[in-house]
Amino acid sequence: MRGGGLAKGLAITLRTMTRRAHTAQYPDVRPDLPPRSRGVIALFEENCTVCMLCARECPDWCIYIDSHKETVPAREEGARARQRNVLDRFAIDFALCMYCGICIEVCPFDALFWTPEFEYAEYDVRELTHEKGRLREWMWTVPPPPPLDANAEPSKEAAAARKALEIEA
């Protein structure tokens, strides 16, 4: 019918008015962001081996890593003293970072994680380079990954472990 659209428009707006608003009242009510939200990148420092893969793959070259080698004295008689990398500086310049996530994908040691934390604005662009202390702190805000779907394949790690167990048995 002609003009039906006019009534429909009114009806839709009125119905929306009676429903709850979608507004998130952000500073009062914290948003509930899903895991892996691209808020900021956290560094699990203990896992990092200073392999430099992330810094190299970063398209923006905005990851800064300094390290030195340390000699770990031999633990038992006759063994060789080993060398190991010690991380001195790990910083990400979030003014340059474009949140592509390549560094996280590429890290072979699960040292980088997405966290939904997003309140790290600064008044000066130079202060957006965050050092490893801050990056490590953010690790506490990384939410646990969501559980797998009911009939999903088990994760690769779990599958490998199960296989190893089966072979042993």
């Binding site: 006019l6 839709i12 707006t13 929306t16 979608h22 507004t23």
Partner: protein, 320 residues
Amino acid sequence: MGRIVIELLLRVAGALVAFLTLPLLVGQLEHKAMAHMQGRLGPMYAGGFHGWAQLVADGVKFVQKEEIVPAAADKTVFRLAPAAGLLPYLLVFLLLPLGPGLVGQALDMGLFVVLAIVGVGVVGMLMASWSSANKYSLLGGLRGAAQLLGYELPFVLSAASVAMAAGTLSLPGIVEAWRPWWLLWQAPAAVVFFVSGLAEIRRPPFDMPIADSELVFGYLTEYTGLRFALFLLAEYAGIVVVSALTTVLFLGGWKGPFADHQLGWLWTLVKVFAVSFVVIWVRVAYPRLREDQLQRVCWLVLVPVALAQLVLTAVVKVVL
């Protein structure tokens, strides 16, 4: 003599208070209703409880802002324009009856006066648009003038229909004469009056003169600070005026389900706010009319309907 003067002053003061509060209430209603219709919350902070003081805060902000008058503008006209746009509505407030005997100034031909005064409001807009020395302003003003000249006709014609039905031009007289079945009899006129009233006050979907997506802000483009706030106030006062006129002419003014004499003012206010709500609702629901559609609606829909309503009114009036 003294008593008359005091009473007159009281009435004028009452109208002034209404003029300063009702538009703000409608503005707040617009903020909130529009927000919820769009799934938002609207202002929430000013004043603490659901942002009730938002418009007061806006007013304070506007007062603090710098008054900028463009260098190329016709400065006197530019400065006077907001007053010229606001004053007519202020005068109309004096004439609108709130309840039985509750009116700023009951005039024998109140309806006619109100229509004349509302028609003058366009001069303020023309002044603003021309004196801004801005092509968008000028375009907005020209659109506005064309729109107002066109919509004045159905506006007056549909009001004439009620005046004919009531046999009087006095606004309280029309309310006195009003009967509930007029809702049906005068329904086309009511719709025409409401729609052309929307166009008169340049509310969406008839906001072609402002059209912020193509004309920046039409004739308001160059205005800042207090003068801009005055124009905004004029817009909300316009909503109240059009709603109140619709109420008085077509919805029976102070006539309610009971206690007309004690609670008349309440019925009037309830109806005025209900109609204002529809004004806001229409703004949210419909997109802006294009210039040609705007003129088409006026000349091909509203004017014929208003004329047909006049004939209908005359026929019923003669038969009864």
